[in-house]
C-alpha cells in the first residue's frame, strides 16, 4: 500500500542515513529496558499495595463478568468470613456496573479528552489493614457533577438506619432510571461498605470531569 512508501518520507532521514537509523534502534533498546524495569516496578508496587485486581480500559458486560469471576476466586482464597466476601462482591459488582452505565464514553489522549465507542474506566481492588478498598474512576458529564455530589453527600450524612430508610423509599417510589437502578446503586454501596464514600471530581474541560470513588469494606 501507499503507506509503506510514505513512512520512509515521514521518518525524516533520507536513504543511507545510517547514524540516524542507529540512533533509533538504540533508542528502542533503551526504552524496552526501561519498560522491562517499569513492569517489574509495577509488579512490586502492586504487591506492596496488596492490589488484588486492577484494570484500565474499555468495559463490556463480558469483561465485568470476567472481573467479578476473578475477584470471587481471589476472595475465596483470602477471606474466611463469608459475610465480608459477599459484601466485597456486592460492592465490586455495583461499582463496575456504575462504571459501565454512568459513563460518558471518554478517554484522555495527549492530555485532552476524546470520545470513544465504549465506556472506559479504571478499577483497583486492594486489601487494607481494616479490610478491602474498591477504587473506581471514570469520565462523566460536567453537568451531572453537582447532582451526583449532592447524592453522595446526602448518603454520607446518614446513619445506617436512615440509610436503610432512604433505600426503602427510593425502592418504593416506583421511578426507574434509564438502566433500572433508579438511584439505588450508591445507597447500596454505602450500606454494604458500612463506611463513608470517599469521592473526588477532577474537572478536565468545560464538558467533562473525572469522577473517583473509594469504597472501604471493613471487617
Amino acid at each position: 500500500m501507499e503507506r509503506v512508501d510514505n513512512s520512509v518520507d515521514n521518518s525524516g532521514g533520507g536513504p543511507g542515513d545510517s547514524p540516524a537509523l542507529g540512533g533509533v534502534l538504540c533508542g528502542i533498546v533503551i526504552s524496552s529496558i526501561l519498560m522491562l524495569h517499569s513492569i517489574h516496578d509495577l509488579y512490586d508496587e502492586l504487591e506492596r499495595k496488596r492490589v488484588m485486581l486492577t484494570f484500565q480500559g474499555p468495559l463490556s458486560a463480558e469483561l465485568i463478568s470476567a472481573l467479578l469471576g476473578a475477584m470471587e476466586r481471589r476472595m475465596e482464597g483470602i477471606e474466611q468470613d463469608p459475610r465480608i466476601r459477599r459484601r466485597v462482591f456486592n460492592v465490586v459488582m455495583e461499582c463496575l456496573q456504575n462504571l459501565f452505565h454512568h459513563n460518558n464514553n471518554r478517554i484522555v489522549q495527549g492530555g485532552r479528552t476524546m470520545s470513544t465507542d465504549e465506556p472506559h474506566g479504571v478499577v483497583m481492588i486492594a486489601q487494607t489493614t481494616q479490610g478491602y478498598q474498591v477504587l473506581t474512576g471514570n469520565f462523566m458529564a460536567e453537568g451531572d457533577v453537582e447532582r451526583l455530589k449532592g447524592h453522595l453527600d446526602r448518603i454520607n450524612s446518614l446513619p445506617p438506619e436512615q440509610l436503610r430508610e432512604l433505600y426503602r423509599e427510593t425502592l418504593a417510589n416506583g421511578t426507574y432510571s434509564a438502566k433500572g437502578g433508579g438511584g439505588l446503586g450508591m445507597i447500596d454501596i454505602a450500606r454494604k461498605s458500612g463506611g463513608k464514600l470517599e469521592y473526588g471530581f477532577v474537572p478536565y474541560d468545560k464538558d467533562n470531569a473525572f469522577f473517583s470513588l473509594n469504597v472501604n469494606v471493613t471487617n
Partner: protein
Amino acid sequence: MSALLLEGTPKTPTVNFDPETGFLELKGRSIPENSIDFYKPLIDWLDKYGRSPRPKTALHVQLEYFNTSSSKCILDLFKKLEGVRATGNEVTVLWHYEADDEDMLEAGEDYAGIINIPFKMIQIEEVDGGEA
C-alpha cells in the same frame, strides 16, 4: 397458559413459574447489566397469570446475589402478586436467606415493608446458585 422456565446463568436466576400449581420460583443470581430486559417476560407472564390465578400462589425467592438494577424489577414482580392477592387469592412470598447472610434477610424485610403480601423468612444452609 404454559409454564415459564428459564435456566440460570452466572448473571441471571433460574426461573420456574408453574401456572397449574401456583408454584413460582426465582433462584440463583440476579446481576445482569440490564435487568429490565431480563424481567420483562416475567412481569408479562405474571400479568397473564393474574387473570386466572390458582387460589394459592407461592413465590419462592432464593437469591445468592442481586444487584440494584434487579431490585426494582423484583419489586415489580411482587406488585403483580399484590394484585393477585387483592382479588381474593392467597399469595405468599417465601424469602430464603443463608444463615449468616443478614444483608439478604434485611433485603427481604425491606420488600416486606413495602409490599402488602405476607413474607415468610426462611433460613437455609447454602444457596445453590451459579458461579460468576
